[in-house]
Assembly symmetry: C2
Homo-oligomer: 148 residues x 2
DNA sequence: GGCAATTAAGTTGTGCACAATCTAATTATA
DNA sequence: TATAATTAGATTGTGCACAACTTAATTGCC
């Protein structure tokens, strides 16, 4: 298998730069919503499922509390979300949308459309690319599980 | 085109998590070399082309001086690289390998092999995936250039 | 030759990303 | 039922990633 030490021949490098460059594309689109890219991902989860606890949120985004805690704090300062401690299990903290956070969804609806337009990609290619990325993750997880 | 606001349906999310998870795979492999993932990318460039100036290096990795300056400082502390100011143009700084930095290459040769093994991917799929990622970047750049 | 515009690096400040550690609540089990 | 093990979340520290700004060298243009 590919063993050349050349930068451009490493899938890790292509993935790393592609991810960075796509995130860069989002920045100006998200700026009017006062969101960073990671904050946008958290909001996506909440618009899908309100009142989710931080643990589930972190699992969904593969982020630990060290990243999420300060990020959520900033979303609270923006008045987009609020935290409520769960009554049944006092360790858990539920995150829910404020009215402003819910209202923001309408503006956010346009984000994927804008991005698709910028990428200039047809549906079939888009799906093929998504499947590739999901497959890469599946292979990574398969290895992780072999190791446990 | 894809306009659902669901997390998993966004190519950006798949790219973002795939990149993070692949980087995570590298961490234990690079730890014995005392390198982070980004530092490894810099070393890859230097093993390919020694005595490169910081500007070119940054272009190659899509990193600006705000990221590279402190990163290179840490590589210097590890005694893997050294900086020399170019004589023809005093603004430029050339980065070159120290003996330890050159010697490290031998150990690094095994990294791509290990990663391929962990990913458990055949050559044809690997190449197809690389091309998809390069295509995504090409589309992003095409948009960037339309905007200039 | 003189001066504005550009360029290369570096610095500062903000926000991830993650390891390691801590606290408090819950669950398991001896 | 004590107490050990586990779990959720927060905190601390390190290292990217990038915008905005600074400094110094070079280039362009009159």
């Amino acid at each position: 298998m590919k063993s050349s030490l050349t930068l451009e021949h490493q899938i890790c490098f292509q993935l790393y730069t592609a991810s960075k460059e796509l995130t860069r594309l989002y920045r100006p689109i998200l700026a009017p919503l006062n969101l960073t890219y990671s904050q946008y991902l958290v909001m996506l989860v909440l618009w899908e499922e309100d009142n989710i606890d931080l643990k589930q949120l972190g699992d969904r985004l593969t982020l630990d509390s060290g990243t999420l805690s300060p990020l959520v704090k900033r979303l609270m300062q923006l008045d987009y979300v609020e935290k409520v401690r769960a009554t049944d299990d006092e360790r858990r903290v539920l995150l829910s949308l404020t009215p402003s956070g819910s209202a923001l969804r309408e503006q956010a609806e346009e984000v994927p459309l804008k991005v698709s337009g910028m990428l200039n990609i047809d549906e079939a290619t888009y799906i093929a690319y998504m499947e590739m990325l999901i497959d890469i993750k599946a292979r990574l997880r398969a290895f992780g599980e072999r190791e446990e």
